[in-house]
Amino acid sequence: MAPFFGGSIYVWGSIITIFMLALSIGYLLGGRWSIRSPNNLKYGSLFLGSALLLLPMIFFGEAIMEWIFEHFSDPRYGSLLGASGLFFLPTVVMGMIAPYSVRLLVINAESSGQTAGFLYFVSTIGSALGTIMTSFYLVLWFEINTILWFIFATYLCCGLSAIARHYLAGNRLILEGNHA
């Protein structure tokens, strides 16, 4: 973002807004999608989807930003659009993962709060670790695109292992899910 829209306060505002907006939509969609026959295959495909949606950012990020820069001269709306173009879609799909995980992990109503709480714990502490690692160390060790490839690979592995689980032992989970 900075090469095109600088480090002004509205650039930060745009990035945070788009992440929050995308996550909220993702939570809503993920929750809805989890109602009918949830399984590890669909769960894994969310991870794969997130990974694939990172690719445009890696390959066309520069071109997308250039186009927005040339067509929108107001730096506020330019940076809002830029943040949307880069982060919106992958973040929506990443947001869908959390409620879907709740659906797969909840066994009964009594422990549902505990399960949801644990998932909040994992996802928020993951965000905290990711943020501090990236801003303190990773940017010193790697180029931005290398870091993005690493995230891509992580999502890919998670997705593939969920799908593998579906084919190896997945049926058990579906049954449990239906009982709950």
Binding site: G6, G7, S8, S73, V139, L140, I144, N145
Partner: protein, 302 residues
Amino acid sequence: MHKPVLFCVSVLLVTVSLLAYADAKTVHTEKSLYRNISVVKEGDLTCLVFETRKENPPYQTCKDENDPKRFVFSYTKLILTGLLYNANPEKILVIGLGGGTLPMALSEMLPNAEITSVEIDPAVIKLAKQYFEYQESPRIKTVERDGRLFIKRAALKKESFDWIILDAFNGDYIPEHLMTQEFLQEVKSVLSETGIITANTFSQSKLYAYESATYHSVYGDFYNVKRKNTGNRIVLAPAQQPLIKLSKLELNATRWESTFEQYGVDVDWLLDHIQTKKDWDQTSDLLTDQYAPANLLKFDKE
């Protein structure tokens, strides 16, 4: 000088400066979007201070009430080497306004020049006008914008400048996107054929090598204007090589001698600090938009 004497002198200097700091009175504090800014009076000096920390916060601009023209900081004096290189710039761009004393002084020295200053923080512009006699006019303009954004738009509009002064680093936080190879190329693209850049940047820590190598990759050989044992230096680079000879700069110096004197700047002192030696690790990696951890590198002493 003997070592004990040197030690005593430095202890004395530190004490004096601490006393002076204790004597400082804050006359105005302004909360901005980016930081707290205050205007401090210290003896005859009025200074603009970015309050990024409690102890010895970095001073941005100072004005001497008894001699308002005098350049108080050495680094601002060193920026004037730009005029020794290119004596007649018509369009000047200043990135990072501070108190605005540099654009005002340049407008006096060069009565026909058009000077545009780009400043990200509206509060800085306000205080420059209120306390440092910064005044806009048809040929002294201010744009409230991120420097990189301004340069990119200027390139789209095919504008060009004869002298670009990059002074956007306050010492505590470095805007990393104003240090990369891509940015320096963008700057080069808005320089006229005889245009030059003078950038006030860092001379210590690991950042020095990274930054020098990055400038060299874009501009080729440049003059390094620096004093010993200070945290900053000026990179003086022309848009087009080859670098003109030092003897030519000396020739231009005679022309500016009496004018500079009014601002407390000695041309010989300026010439003494111009260096061509490549005293950095030339195998250093470059800073790019993909890799620019300038703030982290600055704390890596080496």
